[in-house]
Symmetry: C2
């Protein structure tokens, strides 16, 4: 039968690799690549530094592994945007998914933001190979919807940018938001605001008068 190659990854190996990646996500997302130290990751993971190096070839490899996994997670919501669905519903659902991710995966969002902020030194190939084609495809889908009169005409590329910017903001700038909202949980109000904003932007034709 298949899967006969010598023990791929033992139980303990899987557990420890996952631990390390989780700890590294904590540390990298909080301090950036250069600001993170192996000692911090080791402590957070509850392992010794050399033990970490037993599972990964080095700091760089941990980071790269994290970024690779992240890329998938990051593309998922955009992939889920269904060209056959109702246009406005699809886009608003996409906004909601992205907003939920900011609430549920803030570390991932900040890891990504850190990487892009510094010029995407390690992620640039991924962006070109994975994100760019999907982005182009989704732009074409949205443009088709607009040409069919199902959505108001705006630049689809900047529409997507604005969705990314507004949703990820709640994870990436959390420190600032906490100060300004005095700790109040922002996601519910943000959701309502963003749904309104993008519905108003994208609804073609007349708008119903306010009460």
């Amino acid at each position: 039968m298949a899967d006969q190659l010598p023990r791929k990854t033992s139980r303990i190996q899987q557990r420890n690799r996952r631990r390390i990646l989780d700890a590294a996500l904590d540390v990298f997302s909080a301090h950036g690549f250069r600001g993170a130290t192996l000692d911090q990751i080791a402590e957070q993971a509850g392992l010794s530094k050399p033990n970490i190096l037993y599972y990964f070839d080095g700091k760089e490899e941990i980071h790269v592994t994290l970024l690779s996994q992240l890329m998938e997670t990051w593309l998922d919501p955009l992939i889920a945007l269904d060209p056959a669905g109702e246009p406005l519903t699809e886009i608003l659902a996409y906004v909601q998914r992205k907003l939920d991710m900011s609430r549920d995966l803030p570390r991932e969002s900040r890891l990504f933001a850190n990487e892009i902020l510094q010029g995407a030194p390690r992620m640039d190939p991924h962006l070109r190979a994975d994100l760019k084609p999907l982005f182009d495809d989704r732009c074409a889908v949205i443009r088709a919807w607009m040409d069919a009169g199902q959505l108001a005409q705006v630049d689809p590329r900047h529409l997507i940018f604005s969705i990314w910017a507004t949703t990820q903001h709640y994870a990436d700038f959390q420190a600032q938001i906490e100060v300004l909202l005095e700790g109040e949980e922002p996601i519910d109000a943000a959701s309502q605001f963003l749904q309104t904003m993008f519905r108003n932007l994208l609804t073609p034709g007349q708008r119903t008068a306010p009460a």
Copy 2:
């Protein structure tokens, strides 16, 4: 007459301090605080490392100086929002100012983003002391406009967040945008998109039908 205290800052001192801060802005905004090294800053400034330490007490002080200056620059556009002006015009002008800043001061934007991303360890007091009161005040102004029926009713806090997010995105995520737009200059199209988006969001009552 006043200003008699012994030589405050010589010509050369001013020049070198400015050089250092400019170089430090380059390096800090590109690599974050911990990722930046004094050697990099020194090289970029065209000075020796000990000479840098002659003008500043240390890496930390350079960073703090930069952040202090940045805070003023950052608040300016929001301060310029005139409570006596025409509401929609004022807000759209604010959006444009912020967008122009992303184009003209991307390093400052990224320095700020880096600091907030890492939890605002050094800027938190500034945020509470300077940004928070201004934010609250401007929220009140906008809310008053809305209550007077001059703007559509939305949460002013999230409105401001969305303006920050969408405009700063073009500086902070420049690396990603360059990949996706294949180097095309984004600011003009972004301006048109954002003006449309916020006008549609904030215009009270009916919207004119499309052509």
